[in-house]
Each structure stands twice: as structure tokens, then as C-alpha cells.
Amino acid sequence: MSLPLEVEVRRDGRRAAGRIEGGLGRLLVPRTVGLEEIAVAEDLLPDALARLVDLGPRLTSSAGPFRVPAEALGQALARGDHEPSSTLDRTEDTEAEPLRSVLLAGYAHWRVEVRAQAAAAAGASSVEILDTEACLWLVSSDPPEVELSPTTPAAVFGLLCGLVPGSRGV
């Protein structure tokens, strides 16, 4: 039997968390009032996660991947940059220009992480996405930078499947 795993979903400041154990995924999900527990079999967990992060049809982009300092993305997300008046827009840092273009049209940011209990971030598997008007951007960490790559909901769903222990892998 596989060891219990912790699962965490963060989307625009909201957090759902739970565990995967014994072939079952359990998550406490914030609702308008209080928390709701979702319990589903492992093979239904990718769809449950997809619904939590509002994964659905999106436009596709022919734009190429680009890199920005991880700090620039972190600061922009912490500020909730959405508008041209944001601090990021006023910066003269040309490295942040592609990121500014991505964020200006509005976005949602989400991350799903699965990790062994008590293992902190080490060994964790995750999927992190910027969901924008133009397309979905997959955020890949490569310290001290992050790479943002345009992707499709189908590809992202495959990555969510790959987070579940019973998956046959990506």
C-alpha cells in the first residue's frame, strides 16, 4: 500500500488541503460559509482537482516560453498585479516585460502540490499555472528563475493525473 500523501491546492489566495491515502483523496475546500470535505477515489481526483482550479477550455497561444527572475513573479503575485498602474508596470526592469504583458490582461494563479507527509517541500510534485486571457502558462521553477511556457488544458490535465499515486506516469 502506498504511503499517505498531502495534497494542497492554492488558487488566488484560497487554499484547499487534504491527503491521499488508501486509494482515497480527501480535501477540505473553502466555501462561502465554512469548509466542505470532498472525498473521492484516486482515479476521480484529477477531475476533482481540475474543477477546484477551474480548468476548462482556453485560448491557445503561439507565443514561446520565456524566463523571468523568480523574485519578479513572486512579487507580482504577492501584489496581485492586474492593472497597468501596478508597480510591475512602472518598473524599468526589461526582464520583467514579458511577464508584465502576460499579467496585464488579468489572470488567475493556482498551484497544486502533492508531497509525502512530513517531507516539507522536498520531493514534492506540483503543477503551477497562470491562467490568463491569452492562454494557460505553465510555471516551471529553475532557480533563480522561473520559466513560463504556454500550454493547453489537456496537457495540464495530464500533469494533474501524474500527481496521483495510481497514475501510470507522465
Partner: protein
């Protein structure tokens, strides 16, 4: 390896990217299973449609029907994609069958009064390893010119 299918009545003929089993053959449509062993399955449906039917209309109708037939049906992706040398519609959806999570990827194209649909279905946790198989089948599937 490819095989050829020719409908006995309608002008429907296909180059199919794998050995197939004929599941249904009606006067205006045919359904072929490229792998009938269960998981994954690849199904090809070719049917007569109105001459001006578009791939988007074919997808609208198909997804609408599935939403009424399948439990917990959820459309995850929909985008324009090539099939049979023409621009069609690729969709990805999820549903529950016999308590199991199932993922369904489909390519649809409509041209010359014919609608062609390739449906790849698998248990959801297998999707990461069969997605490329589905895409490869879509790249190799082709209608044949009517004689």
C-alpha cells in the same frame, strides 16, 4: 500499419491507422474500434451530415449528446486542431462510468457532407501515457477521395 475501410452503401471510406473491428454499420454511418480490448479504446465514427455542417457544429452536437448520456460529464479542453488534413475540433472531457474516472479525447472534422470523429477513451490515471497514442492516431486517420 494502416487498413482501409469502405462503407458498402454511402461514399464513406477511410484509411485507418490500425487494425479495426466494425462495431456498427448503418445506411449513413459506420463505427470502427481500433482497439476493442477495453482500455484504452479508439473509436472512429464516419457519418453523413448536412453539406454545410462545420466541425464546431459537429462538436456542439456531439458534446451536447454526451452531456446527456454520461455521468459527471466535464469538458476540460476544446480547441481547433487538424484532422484528415483539415482544421477540425479537438476536445478533452471527463466522466464517470461504473464508478471509474474516464477521460475521452476526440477529434472531429466535417467536410463534403461527411462528419468524421475519432474518439480515444481511457481510464483517467492512464491518460498521461496514452495521450500521445491518441494524437498519433489522429495524425494518421484520413478519409479517402470518393470514386
Amino acid at each position: 500499419m494502416t487498413e482501409r475501410y469502405v462503407h458498402p452503401h454511402a461514399e464513406l471510406s477511410l484509411t485507418v491507422p490500425a487494425p479495426f473491428v466494425l462495431l456498427e454499420e448503418e445506411v449513413d454511418r459506420a463505427v470502427l474500434a481500433l482497439d476493442a480490448t477495453g482500455n484504452p479504446t479508439l473509436i472512429v465514427t464516419i457519418e453523413e451530415v448536412f453539406p454545410d455542417t462545420t466541425a464546431d457544429e459537429l462538436a456542439d452536437g456531439g458534446l451536447g449528446a454526451l452531456a446527456g448520456e454520461l455521468a459527471a460529464f466535464h469538458v476540460l479542453d476544446r480547441a481547433h486542431a487538424g484532422l484528415d488534413g483539415q482544421m477540425g475540433v479537438r476536445t478533452l472531457s471527463h466522466h464517470v462510468a461504473d464508478g471509474r474516472g474516464m477521460t475521452l479525447e476526440q477529434w472531429r472534422v466535417a467536410a463534403d457532407g461527411q462528419g468524421l470523429t475519432l474518439s480515444g477513451s481511457c481510464q483517467t490515471l492512464d491518460y498521461p501515457i496514452v495521450a500521445d497514442l491518441f494524437s498519433a492516431a489522429a495524425e494518421r486517420l484520413a478519409r479517402e477521395p470518393s470514386s
